[in-house]
């Protein structure tokens, strides 16, 4: 199976080519987690996750709530 390499929160990660964001999030352990996602510095709304396929070199940011001032 062909793989792509991308960046997950600044760390390298590998995925099968052509997989959807929903699949990637499940595989990485984010299923059911309260997170928001940006791809290549642009917001990726939750409604787009099932359709959104990931490409080689994509930068994925996954964020969750923390204390803030």
């Amino acid at each position: 199976m062909q793989e792509i390499t991308l960046s997950l929160n600044g760390e390298p990660a590998r995925l099968p080519r052509g997989c959807a964001l929903t699949y990637a999030l499940e595989r990485w352990g984010y299923a059911e987690r309260r997170v928001a996602v940006a791809i290549n510095d642009a917001f990726a709304p939750r409604s787009t996750w099932p359709e959104r396929t990931l490409d080689d070199g994509d930068r994925i940011d996954i964020v969750a709530p923390v204390g803030g001032g």
Partner: protein, 283 residues
């Protein structure tokens, strides 16, 4: 011109004591808030201490942030649960963003995650004093207002910047008292008084306060609210300090509404001179 001119109360019937908590709500984007104290949720020694501090502060709105989350770290969900139980409105921030683009993206992520249009907009321009970047801030504010966000920009005390932000549609502004985390109080009283005189919108002093007396001073000057974090979180007893700030903010607001006297150079006796015994005895 003050937006709520209450100093001209010479004809105001003050025999009935006004309780500031009743008809004196802080109104932001047409929404009323009972408390004028907004509290941050970072830097506490434990979640329990944070929870106790939020409770003691009696605030209606608390700030929080978003950071990268690895699946192994489960803190995000637990933290979220505590915030929900507080019953406070959530004000997510864009802390740490260095450009309008970054801040806009983080605001969009916050809106989805917290299901709220409220955003404390931060675009930082300098690492040394974490000073807001006025140009990036205005650019991001315009875009987010157009997207329907309720933007509360963390800004400097620069008059023209604040006017531009207000014109851009920010219905409330949050000028700094001093740089974040410094506890120095109101550094530039002239600029802050000028803002209060010139900006007809709610102004919340955000950042830089260290002691309740400084918060009271801001409220006496006519500021509409106070947002702080470090001063409570880094106090020896955070919940007690939160309660102290809450009282100071209420006292300062009440004093503003009451209209402080003018300062004068010469002494003026408060006890009547008429009927003074031993008159001429020392002349």
């Amino acid at each position: 011109m003050r937006h709520d001119t209450l100093h001209d109360d010479t004809h105001h019937d003050d025999t009935h004591h006004d309780d500031t908590s009743h008809d004196d709500a802080l109104v932001l984007y047409d929404e009323p808030f009972t408390s004028r104290f907004l509290l941050g949720t970072a830097l506490y020694s434990s979640p329990a201490v944070m929870q106790a501090s939020v409770e003691a502060a009696g605030c209606d709105m608390i700030t929080l942030g978003l950071r990268r989350q690895n699946p192994a770290g489960g803190d995000g969900d637990a933290f979220w649960q505590i915030l929900r139980e507080s019953g406070c409105r959530l004000l997510p921030n864009t802390a740490g963003c260095r450009s309008a683009r970054e801040a806009i993206t983080l605001a969009e992520m916050s809106r989805e995650l917290f299901d709220t249009p409220w955003i404390k907009l931060e675009v930082i321009g300098d690492d040394y004093n974490l000073q807001p970047d006025p140009f990036g801030l205005l650019e991001a504010a315009r875009e987010l207002i157009a997207q329907g966000f309720k933007v509360l920009p963390y800004c400097t005390d620069d008059l023209v910047l604040c006017q531009r932000l207000h014109e851009a549609g920010c219905q409330a502004l949050m000028p700094w008292g001093a740089p974040i985390g410094t506890g120095r109080g109101l550094m530039n009283r002239y600029a802050l008084r000028t803002l209060r005189e010139r900006i007809a919108a709610p102004l919340i002093i955000d950042a830089g306060l260290g002691a309740p007396s400084q918060a009271a001073e801001a409220m006496e000057m006519g500021f509409d609210g106070v947002l702080l974090n470090t001063a409570v979180a880094k106090a020896r007893r955070p919940a007690r300090m939160a309660a102290a700030f809450a009282r100071a903010i209420e006292a300062g607001r009440a004093a503003y509404l009451a209209g402080p006297m003018e300062q004068r150079q010469t002494a003026s006796p408060s006890t009547p001179t008429l009927g003074q015994p031993f008159w001429h005895a020392h002349s």
